[in-house]
């Protein structure tokens, strides 16, 4: 996973119905880039049977102990 390019960000914002200019898409790319790079080791590695609700189960598992 690599950080999205300003061009890709501009296209995604257009699709979302909230257009942004080129300077803004450049800034967004720089601002969100570290989050993408930090999450890159996880993205694309998760096992198939993992749902977001596993978080709540994990919380409750601790309570029952």
């Amino acid at each position: 996973m690599s950080r999205p390019s300003p061009k890709a960000i501009k296209a995604m914002a257009d699709v979302a119905g909230v257009p942004i200019d080129a300077a803004t898409s450049q800034r967004v790319s720089e601002s969100i880039g570290p989050a993408f790079e930090g999450f890159a080791p996880i993205a694309g590695t998760l096992p198939f049977d993992l749902e977001p609700a596993s978080f709540l189960l994990m919380q409750l598992a601790k309570v029952s102990k």
């Binding site: 800034r27 989050a35 993992l50 749902e51």
Partner: protein, 474 residues
């Protein structure tokens, strides 16, 4: 303990009113006097409702005279972050967009404090839509730190931190999505409790990120936080994410011994790249806890940078989804910092957001495994004491974004894992700015954190220090 009513702790003033040693009127008037002294210097209040507060205080006194004690907060005046809906009241959420928004419901957390007898002093300033870690606000001005007024308070519960530190309110609700209770506690020298995700109902609290938002108190002491948590915690039919996990006796927890409790000190990340004063205060805090009977052990935590990154992805997407309509219809009504943060979400594909959500349970399981031998983990809230308002002003100061990223480094991982964390005043930097440590616990085990925090406060007096009132120096 101070005999000046406004300087008393929440627990002490509530008892004094119940025992009729002080009237609610006297206490409320003392708070209003202090607010009048400090507000021009701090900008901590969004609204001050002096007349209504005194009327409510008189009604509380009359009720008590007739033997009608409504609860443990009977007649205690409080003010909260201006994002808790209170039916019939304007709730600005720190924004221009909601400048005239009148709530039609009352948030569950606030209602539970009202049911215990508290009365309303007014509302407290905050970062616009709770989306900022410094205390800047483009519409209503920055909130200032009572210890050094050119420095930030931390955000987003900026007014809560500032007002509790200056003793303008005995306690205040904050909210913590990425550190918004713990950072004001750290920068302003007060106690702040970020609760487990789901411990306190979010119903009627302005949403920022529904998967990460938590409701919690800022107060002078751990005991005060325990009192408020006990009143607010528990299931709520208005918020099905509020847990039905048992609510323990948190006040009893503050009186327990810490002998034999194991506190983990991370071997990396939370101890890296610390300001020398923060490093010194971490060591001193550990020494106090050890002296009080805790066992101190090293812990190796999973990669916290990945947790922080996942947290940023979740908050960005969820916040922007809430705001999308206004982003289309009223973009000009956002402050520049908040608009910039909201625009960041357009870089994140839906699949990436859902991967961040899917990983959360596994990440919590890994954290639980890594900390299975300890009762809590200790870490600084932030690597530095409060920077100045100018040097953290994104848009006007080069490098401010890097300063802000550094501020939230130690708080975001806890939000992603949904864990409770108690920020306790732990010392002062050479610059005389306060510094806090956070105790990070297990899911729904706030009680152990309160036990450790209360023991620390019995052994130290950092939480009892009060900044000098303007105009009183010789």
């Amino acid at each position: 303990m101070s005999t000046e009513p406004a300087l008393m702790t929440l627990t002490a003033v509530a008892k004094a009113i119940a025992d009729k040693q002080l009237s609610s009127h006297e206490v409320t008037r003392a708070c209003l006097h202090r607010i009048a002294q400090w507000q021009p210097h701090l900008n901590a209040f969004m609204a001050i409702e002096a007349e209504a507060a005194l009327k409510a205080a008189d009604e509380a006194d009359a009720a008590l005279a007739k033997g009608d004690n409504r609860g443990v907060l009977h007649g205690v005046p409080l003010a909260h972050k201006d994002m808790y809906y209170d039916a019939g009241k304007v709730v600005t959420c720190g924004s221009l967009i909601r400048r005239d928004f009148v709530a039609t419901t009352t948030s569950t957390a606030l209602q539970r404090l009202k049911d215990a007898g508290s009365i309303r002093l007014g509302s407290l300033q905050m970062a616009e839509f709770a989306y900022g870690p410094t205390g800047h606000n483009a519409h209503y001005g920055a909130v200032r730190n009572p210890w050094a007024r050119e420095h930030i308070t931390g955000g987003s519960s900026s007014g809560s931190g500032s007002a509790v530190a200056a003793r303008l309110t005995f306690a205040a609700l904050g909210s913590d999505t990425g550190g918004s209770i713990r950072m004001p506690a750290h920068f302003c020298g007060v106690t702040g409790l970020k609760t487990t995700y789901g411990r306190v109902s979010r119903a009627g609290a302005m949403p920022l990120s529904q998967s990460l938002d938590t409701v919690g108190p800022l107060a002078q002491t751990v005991e005060d936080c325990a009192l408020l948590l006990g009143l607010m915690a528990g299931a709520d039919p208005e918020d099905l994410t509020a847990s039905s996990a048992p609510v323990p006796d948190y006040m009893a927890a503050t009186m327990a011994s810490i002998k034999g409790l194991k506190i983990g000190v991370p071997t990396s990340f939370y101890v890296d790249d610390l300001d020398p004063d923060v490093a010194r205060i971490l060591d001193e805090t550990i020494a106090v806890l050890k002296r009080e009977g805790a066992d101190i052990v090293k812990v190796e935590l999973p990669d916290q940078r990945q947790l922080s990154a996942a947290s940023q992805i979740v908050i960005a997407v969820e916040a922007t989804a809430f705001h999308k309509r206004w982003l289309i219809e009223r973009p000009q009504d956002y402050g520049p910092q908040v608009l910039m943060r909201l625009q960041n979400a357009f870089a994140i594909p839906g699949v990436t957001y859902l991967e961040a959500m899917r990983w959360r349970g596994a990440a919590l399981a890994a954290h639980v495994a890594a900390t299975s031998k300890v009762d809590a983990v200790i870490a600084p809230v932030a690597p530095i004491p409060a920077p100045t308002i100018a040097e953290s002003d994104v848009g006007n100061t080069p490098g401010a974004e890097a300063v802000i990223q550094r501020l939230t480094r130690f708080t975001r991982p806890v939000n992603y894992l949904g864990l409770p964390s108690l920020a306790i005043p732990s010392g002062f930097a050479k610059s005389r700015l306060p510094v806090a440590m956070q105790l990070i616990g297990r899911s729904f085990d706030e009680a152990t954190l309160l036990t450790i925090g209360a023991a620390f406060q019995r052994a130290t007096d950092f939480h009892a220090k009060v900044p000098e009132t303007p105009g009183t120096s010789p």
